[in-house]
Amino acid sequence: NAGVTQTPKFRVLKTGQSMTLLCAQDMNHEYMYWYRQDPGMGLRLIHYSVGEGTTAKGEVPDGYNVSRLKKQNFLLGLESAAPSQTSVYFCASSQAGVYNEQFFGPGTRLTVL
């Protein structure tokens, strides 16, 4: 099993450009999450999904949109990138249930100039 994969691994954008980050998991997990990691701030939840066709806002959702059209995929979109969105983005997935640990992808390093 590949686990959780993310594409691309690196990306540089100019302010105002748009892009989509793709997350895929092959563990048949119900729940999926998008986080951003910034120095000294830990991980912060952007959006999450508890099943195919459902999404919800996390802690820092502004400037991002998500879609979960297929159970195994969770897309994170930036419609108009800003320098404040320079970060490392992690996708994670977990089984349904409140006690289950999350499995993380390798991350995408995004720089917005």
Binding site: G40, G42, L43, L45, Y48, A56, V98, F104, P106, G107
Partner: protein, 116 residues
């Protein structure tokens, strides 16, 4: 609001010595606590969790954590550190809410450096 604090940005320890990475929590209700490790340029890996029961939780790679309700702490420990344990460690707490999902609030991380 649920939160965790990791009071040390960095912990240095000699190989073979015991290590402790500290975490304190603030939650309403029962705490569900997790430890994750992040190696350079990698995603987070799950180490262990406390849900209920025994206060000493054993996890991956020889790590364990001690839950202390009176001190609201969940410190990560290992009896004998290895150089390969050098990494960034995150404590996290589940945020209870309605609607499903398993939202976690993470601490700011502690960099562990194990030296020969």
């Amino acid at each position: 609001a649920q939160s965790v604090a990791q009071p040390e940005d960095q912990v240095n320890v000699a190989e073979g010595n015991p290590l402790t990475v500290k975490c304190t929590y603030s939650v309403s209700g029962n705490p569900y606590l997790f430890w994750y490790v992040q190696y350079p340029n990698r995603g987070l890996q799950f180490l262990l969790k406390y849900i209920t029961g025994d206060n000493l939780v054993k996890g991956s790679y020889g790590f364990e954590a001690e839950f202390n309700k009176s001190q609201t702490s969940f410190h990560l420990k290992k009896p004998s550190a290895l150089v390969s344990d050098s990494a960034l460690y995150f404590c996290a707490v589940r945020v209870p809410f309605t609607g499903g999902g398993n939202k976690l609030t993470f601490g700011t991380g502690t960099q562990l450096k194990v030296e020969l």
